[in-house]
Each structure stands twice: as C-alpha cells, then as structure tokens.
C-alpha cells in the first residue's frame, strides 16, 4: 500500500513539473532544457532554508520560487529577443552549469554528498508525515499548478501565448510585446517547477545533484510530449505513463541498474516515434507546427 501511495506522490510531483513545462512548450512553443535546473533550485533552496536556517516549509517553498523566477531572467532576458534556437541552447547551458554548481559548490550544497536530514513539511501547524498526507499535499500542489496554468491559458494572456507559438511576427504586428510574454511564461514555469522541487526535497528528506540533471529535463519533456503538449490533460497523462513505466519494467525482473537505462531508452524511443507518427501526443493537440 505504501508503495502505491509513494507512486501517487511522485505522480503529483511530476504532474506539476509537466504541466508547468507545457505552459512553455505546448502553449508558447518554446522548448526548455532547463526544467530540472529549476526543479533542483527549488529543492536545494528550501532544503537549505530548512536545514541551515531552520525556516518553516512555506517560507522555504516561497524562497525557492522567488529564486527560480529571478534566476530565470538570466536565461530569458538575453536569449528571448533572438531566434528560438538561442533560447534552447541557453537553457541547455544553464541546465549544465546549475548542475555543476550543485555538484561543486561544496560549502553550500555539499556537492555529491547531497543534503540529508531535510525535515518533513509543517504547514501552519499541520505536520505532514504519513504517506497519505503526502499524497494529499502532492495532489494539492498538482492542482495548484493546473489552476495557475489553466487560468493563464484561458485568459487573453494565453491567447497571446498561442499567437506567439503560431506566428510571433503577426502578434508583434498587432501590438504585442512578445518578449515580455515569453519572459513571464518562463518565470512562471520556473516557479512551479521550483515548488515541485521543494515538495520533493521535504518528501524524500535527502537530495543530491544526480536528481537534477539534463536527463531529468528530457524526462519531463517526454512527459509533456508523449501525453500531448498544449492539451489540458496531456501533461498529466504523460506524467502518469512515464512514472509507471519503471514499475512496469520492474515486473520483467530486470536488475535495477539496467532498468534505469532501459527506461531512458524507452522514452528516448517514444520521443522519436511520437515525433514521427503523432507529434500531438496521446491527447493529440498541438503538433508543433507544420
């Protein structure tokens, strides 16, 4: 039972990650390879706030989100005025160096040793300890992400994002400051990723840099794409499919070291196959342009 609940918590966390990434990929048409970096920023910030400063969970989460939003500007301000390829490369570079900072800034992050002993969340007196409570918190977070992204995409703001995705020049000719919209969407998606990171850190109580690599970014991208970018339920479907995948592989009785690689190979293959036969993903919405 505990195991099923654990999967449910992970699904909640990854749904938050994929829904927030979809705001960028599916609704604005921008591919970011840095989602894991923001996930990690949230995790490390709230972990350090709790472990070093003794700050309560909500403060740590907020600090992580603010950190992510501010840091996102370093990537977005220089690159979003230029062709989208520059943005992808900038996010790739950013992802690499954030990992490097987690791994090498020993005084702050303890490098590869990671940060153990992260306290479980206490929110306004409610101490989240049992698996059931974590499932509840995780579902709450995923719902929050859904709400935020849903409100944005169904508003005039979202209308402009879709226009940017389809024809940015047209949007500019109609008076829209497209760069501002892209920067804002990127910051929002970074903040939501950071909040997922905070929950993750306080759930597993130990984090290290290996959870926040570029492969993790690609995993979330896979969830968005396989589930269906730009659709309402797509990212969640993708999260469920890809979280359950390793469990399915487990039934084949493979040793765990091989399973990890095999799992990645499966979603690499799925990415390629999806692009070739059904770019709109399972939920079939945005096909990434003609």
């Amino acid at each position: 039972m505990d195991y099923v609940l654990h999967i449910a918590v992970l699904i909640g966390i990854y749904t938050t990650l994929s829904v927030s990434l979809d705001l960028l990929v599916g609704h604005t048409g921008l591919l970011s390879l840095a989602h894991a970096a923001f996930y990690g920023l949230g995790a490390y910030t709230s972990a350090l706030f709790a472990v070093q400063l003794g700050a309560p969970f909500p403060v740590g989460v907020l600090a992580g989100m603010v950190m992510a939003a501010l840091v996102s500007l370093i990537v977005s301000l220089p690159s979003l005025r230029l062709h989208e390829d520059y943005f992808v490369i900038a996010t790739f570079g950013f992802q690499m160096i954030i990992f490097s900072i987690f791994n090498n800034w020993i005084e702050l992050s303890r490098g590869p040793l990671g940060i153990p002993g992260i306290p479980q969340p206490v929110i306004l007196g409610w101490a989240v300890q049992s698996h059931f409570e974590f499932v509840f918190l995780s579902t709450l977070l995923a719902s929050f992400a859904f709400l935020v992204v849903g409100l944005i995409t169904t508003s005039p703001f979202g209308r402009v994002l879709r226009a940017i995705r389809e024809d940015e020049v047209f949007a500019q000719a109609m008076g829209k400051n497209t760069v501002r919209f892209k920067i804002t969407a990127f910051a929002v998606s970074a903040m939501l990723a950071a909040s997922a990171g905070s929950l993750y850190a306080h759930y597993v109580t130990y984090i290290d840099p290996t959870s926040f690599t570029v492969m993790e970014s690609i995993l979330v991208i896979s969830m968005v794409i396989i589930g269906g970018a730009g659709s309402l339920w797509g990212p969640m479907v993708g999260a469920i499919v890809l979280v359950m995948l390793p469990e399915a592989l487990r039934f084949l009785g493979l040793p765990s070291s091989i399973a990890a690689n095999l799992r990645q190979i499966v979603y690499g293959v799925l990415l390629v196959v999806m692009m070739m036969i059904r770019p709109g993903g399972l939920m079939g919405r945005y096909g990434f342009g003609r």
Binding site: I97, N104, V169, G268, V272
Partner: protein, 292 residues
C-alpha cells in the same frame, strides 16, 4: 604556470574547434539544433575503445573504422529519422525533439554496454612528452593540435573549392534556390551529417586519449562546441576556431582562478554575453536569417 595554461588552452581549443566545426557543418545545411551530435561524439570514442580494448584491433585500423562508424551513425540518424520528418514538413522543433530522443537512446546504450565509469585509452606507461618554456605537452596533445589544424584547413578547402563543398554552401545559403538549380538538398544534408559526425568522432577520440572516456563527455563536449560555434559565428570555420579558442581560454584560466563551482559557468557566461552584445558572433551570421 602560465605557459602550461596556454598550452592546455591550445590543446582543448583544438579539440573544441573540431566539435564546433562538425556542429556547424550539420547546422548550416540541416538547419536545426541536432542534440544527438553530443551522443555521436561520445559514441565515436567508445567505438574506438571497443575496437582497441575489447576486439584488440591495432590502433591504425581501429581509428578510421571508429570514425567511419560514427559518420555512418550520424547519416543513419538522418536517413532514418530526420529525412522522413523533413519530408513530412516537420518544423524545427519536431526535429529538435526527435534528436533529443536519439541522444537519450544512444547515450544510454553506451552506458548499458560500457558501464558508468571512466575508460582509458592511454598506454600503460605515460610518455614524457615535450617541454616548452616550462610547460609540458604530451605527444597526444601535440597530435591534437596538429590534427585539428590539418582537418580544419582541409574542411575549409573542401567547402571552398570542391564540388561537394560548393553544393553544401549553396544549400546552406538558400535551400529553395538550390533546389531550383537542381541541387538535391537531401543528399547534401546526408553528406553534412557524415562529415560533421566524423569530425566530432575525431575530436572525441583525441580527447579520449588525452583525458579518458566517460559517458558524460558528450554533454560538455556538445555545450562547448555549440557555444564556440555560436560565438564564432555559425557558418564560419575561422569563426569556430576563434570561438573555440575563446571558450577554451576562459575555461582554462577559469580553472586556475575561479573556485571550482563556477568553472563550467564560465562557458555559459560567455554565451550570455555574446547573446546580449553580438548574437551574430565574431565572424559569421546569426543562427537564422531575420524572421521577416
């Protein structure tokens, strides 16, 4: 000390140029950010390792075979994935995502076959190498620099003067127009993939001999190469050389002067500075023509 840093800079720049040029050659015709380039880079080195350490082939046979294998792998990706997608009118983003998938698969196959740890190609007893003005340079490093210069000049000459090179440049400049003149861009792109992948493999092999192989070498190799290509100006080989030199200088001086957590950040900072100040790079054109 300074001399050693300069020598190290020269060596890593030499390898970096090859990756940058390989990336540029592919980008200029295929016109999308081929992420899988990093995996082909790694595959080149590992195929060589397999041939030498496992199959025990002599080096002088193994190297050309490994480079050819990498070229074939790159061309295979184009034939099997990118070309069909292009035929369907897939957007650049679709190609990029497909290349991400290819990258993940190749990367993980390498780890499955060879494990996570580092592998070495170096001979048991390290050779002394040359001493220049207080700095040391090993034979392999010297070979890297010489080999890189030779390959770059060769590539430049081929692109400039050979028929293949001219058709590649025609497609890079204007694929539509090239088609009107009867140039089949599909074939040209295939050749680019072959050449670019071969260059990447050579770079990986040289780096592998110098500093050992690890599965992660593809990531940083790709990043350095791409950044060098951008800041040098995509489409320009002298630019790629300049870019690689700049990136490499910053990295090596960074190792000397900065605390370790910021060393990789140097490459990123350079990229950001260029994006802010001179996106077209030092010598070339911006990644894409203006939108309008």
């Amino acid at each position: 000390m300074l001399v050693q840093i300069l020598l190290n800079t020269l060596v890593s720049a030499a390898a970096g140029v090859l990756v940058a040029v390989g990336f540029t050659v592919i980008y200029s015709t295929a016109r999308f950010f081929n992420f899988a380039h990093g995996a082909i880079f790694t595959a080149g080195a590992y195929i060589l390792y397999a041939l030498i350490a496992i199959c025990e082939w002599p080096t002088w046979v193994a190297i050309p075979v490994a480079v050819t294998a990498a070229a074939l792998l790159g061309m295979g990706l184009d034939l099997g994935i990118y070309r069909p997608l292009r035929r369907k009118g897939a957007s650049e983003l679709v190609l990029l995502i497909a290349s991400l998938g290819a990258f993940v698969v190749i990367q993980n196959v390498i780890v499955l076959l060879f494990g996570d740890g580092t592998k070495t190609l170096r001979a048991a007893d390290p050779t002394e190498g040359l001493y220049i003005l207080g700095g040391r340079i090993t034979p392999i490093q010297g070979l890297t620099v010489i080999g890189s210069v030779v390959l770059c000049i060769a590539t430049w000459l081929v692109l400039r003067f050979s028929r293949t090179g001219r058709t590649m440049r025609a497609v890079a400049n204007d694929a539509e127009l090239a088609k009107c003149v009867g140039i089949e861009s599909d074939r040209v792109i295939l050749v680019s993939f072959g050449a670019g992948s071969a260059l990447a493999a050579v770079a990986a092999i040289l780096i592998g001999y110098d500093t050992d192989l690890s599965p992660a070498m593809g990531f940083s190799g790709l990043l350095s190469g791409v950044v060098a290509a951008i800041i040098g100006g995509v489409g320009s080989i002298p630019g790629a050389a300049l870019g690689a030199l700049l990136v490499s200088t910053a990295q090596n001086f960074g190792v000397w002067m900065l605390p370790s957590q910021w060393q990789d950040a140097i490459v990123f900072v350079i990229l950001i500075l260029f994006l802010l100040l001179r996106p077209q790079g030092m010598l070339g054109t911006p990644l894409k023509k203006a939108v309008v």
